[in-house]
Symmetry: C2
Subunit: 427 residues, 2 copies
């Protein structure tokens, strides 16, 4: 029986596995984690609106009824391309077709020392760490008698004004303006400063210019200060230093969040070393028109790890691309088994959306530009529909409805083994 092995249970890997159901082959999905994470809603966990369990679904449950599929909780550590075998942390697993959907992590452009100070947002642990950081900042401000230091606690800097940065900034503004408004006795959370920095001259550069402008207007209305065209030169526990075209500036802030760079998984390097794959500058794997590694028709690379241009433009690292690639790869595997000819992959762009806050968002759906409440509403609807489980859809819907009416964020917990008192105290 043909053995398909899939590395990674994100959108790419999961959709590939599912599209291979009913077929006469065995499917093994390898992931380090036991759940599929709905990454587009991760920022809502980071900002206390949703609980981790509401945007994650166990892979075993998602593939429970698919009798030809099995899930392996393991670290895919290396590749033996000659013998067609994936080396695991313990043991190995042979394949006839390999689908690498190992995703990406954040990237600090060589400044790895910034990572503990300015966490990025890719995993559930990242999200609870950021939630800890944000909520703790208000608590520390409440306890801080010195006005200068208090101001540093109430200053939030987000580096990177792509969708994640914009969504984090908008949510932070709502936390400060509404959710926490009546909860403190010594501080006024609505006096918080939220700064959104980017190297490029506008927010959401992947969006049409008119929508960038709309997004910026909506952010400003929420109280977010957008600082474009700057280069961050230093991040330390007390703040951020950046350079503009003409000057060097400094912001004193104890909370800095990273939404700027993305680095593909180490599987890029592994494929380069073991299968001769060519990487782009960021470390993505350049793939053929059928998403295979050149010279290795049995190895596919999909999702954030793949470098593929369409009409001269790089396909973005977003869920819809990964989902379509996953389904496409499954169809190629089946076409080959049936000796049918294979057509090249083509991404069908249904649209894209970014939400900024309550009744606020921008997007393009079916070529039509949307902004304001209609973009927000479509965003809510689409994200609810794509959540992997019916129960989670109901729970998220309830949380959102309750939050819309009361401004209450239900998952405002400061957790983690670095308990508050061990939080790194800036000097």
């Amino acid at each position: 029986m043909h053995r398909a092995v899939i590395i990674g249970g994100g959108f790419g890997g999961l959709y590939a596995a599912r599209a291979l159901r009913h077929e006469k082959l065995s499917v093994t999905l390898v992931d380090r984690r036991n759940f599929h994470l709905f990454q587009p809603l991760l920022y809502q966990v980071a900002t206390g609106a949703l609980s981790p369990g509401e945007i994650a679904a166990p892979l075993r449950v998602l593939l429970r009824k698919q009798k030809n599929a099995q899930v392996l909780l393991a670290e895919a550590a290396d590749l033996d391309a000659t013998n067609r075998s994936v080396i695991l942390d313990k043991g190995e697993i042979p394949y006839d077709t390999l689908v690498v959907a190992a995703g990406a992590r954040h990237f600090y452009f060589g400044h790895d020392s910034w990572e503990p100070i300015a966490p990025g947002l890719k995993s559930l642990e990242d999200a609870t760490r950021i939630r800890h950081k944000i909520l703790y900042a208000f608590e520390a401000a409440e306890r801080e008698p010195d006005p200068e230091r208090r101001r540093s606690w109430l200053t939030f800097v987000i580096v990177g004004a792509g969708p994640t940065g914009v969504e984090l900034a908008g949510a932070l503004a709502e936390i400060a303006n509404d959710s926490l408004r009546h909860d403190f006795r010594s501080i006024h959370p609505e006096e918080s400063r939220i700064l959104l920095l980017d190297a490029l001259p506008r927010v959401l550069t992947a969006f049409p210019e008119s929508l960038s402008a709309a997004a910026e207007r909506q952010l400003i209305r929420l109280g977010v200060r957008v600082i474009p065209s700057v280069r961050v030169t230093e991040i330390d526990p007390n703040g951020v230093t950046y350079s503009t075209a003409t000057s060097i500036e400094r912001i004193e802030a104890h909370t800095v969040l990273w939404a700027a760079g993305v680095k593909p998984s180490p599987w890029g390097e592994i494929l380069a070393r073991r299968a001769g794959a060519e990487l782009d500058r960021a470390g993505r794997v350049k793939v053929n028109a059928d998403l295979t590694v050149p010279g290795h028709p049995e190895i596919f690379v999909i999702g954030d790890l793949a470098y593929r241009e369409q009409d001269g433009v790089l396909l973005p690292g977003i869920a819809p691309v990964a989902m379509q690639e996953g389904r496409y790869v499954a169809s190629v595997i089946l076409d080959r088994l049936g000796s049918r000819s294979v057509r090249p992959f083509r991404y069908f762009d249904k649209g894209y959306l970014a939400v900024i806050g309550r009744n606020k968002g921008v997007g393009v759906i079916g070529g039509v530009k949307l902004h304001g409440w209609i973009a927000w509403f479509v965003w809510l609807f689409v994200h609810l529909m794509y959540l992997a489980q019916a129960l989670n859809r109901v729970l998220v819907f309830l949380r959102w409805g309750y939050q819309y009416v009361t401004f209450y964020r239900g998952a405002r917990l400061i957790t983690g083994d670095d308990s508050p008192k061990h939080q790194e105290e800036p000097r």
Copy 2:
């Protein structure tokens, strides 16, 4: 204005703070955590039925509308009883009345080295750690080709057959028998062995003997093996050694959970040292009939930290006792401010319950013994009613309803920065 300071935001501290609303005094609640935890449902987080956010509520939100109350996220580190001041990790806070409701942790009877191997269940982090351990065991078994080692992964030992131990054992049995039944390809989760050990001759010793027997019958029906009258002599990553009256036995098991001993908070020691309080053998503070520390009418001790007998029996460390003590202390503070005389504390026992599984439980309500589905149903109802927030009540109700119909446990996530591959691998 009279300054009441409360240490601890559990049931005792929170109910004391709330009962002091509307009154002309200032209330400061100090806690290391920013949330009130509904501990009676903690085992449901540990077994993947509920999410942490569903049984925790931010203290600031619970006390938002109480204008005379403020919440301080801080570690209460020491006491200056002479100057009536609580020393915090940073700064200090003066009081006219102090209420110490600092709770308890687990206790390993001098074997502290067992703690990392056999975690106890007191905090949300404990619960996610236990969840990690339980779910990872099934994953490791799925990957393990050796039948002996596989059996060790599928053996679960719970030390301590009080309510927490019984509830954990019952939930584990349901996970193995139902929730995971169709999720694995190499193992049969229902072949798991679940062993419940206790030093005493019966489970739930605080309950009437007939109910202990009923609980044991229900556990056995779920497949739990109850091993009474044993003393655990060693716990290591590969298993548990215990001695019976006649022999020494060994169980090979990679998952051992601790539900045996409880040790009062270090505030017992602090009160002994700084205010001359007398402690019982376990470290609880012996209090007067009005719950004050002898010689210090301005210092109250309530909840799991207090040692108080009623009709010759020690009041148990359970939520209803702490809640009633909290309310009582508030009434004493107000009686004193109004120069009214103070009556001694008396616990009114409405009853107690332990749930064992679906349609299974035991308890006494208003003097009437219950077991089976009626005890289970009353337990569900009571716990839903006492949850601190309406939203959480709805979310928990939904999860329970869904689980009842589908056997699905929605919060089956292996999270934590010790990612699966770093899990301690026994040799």
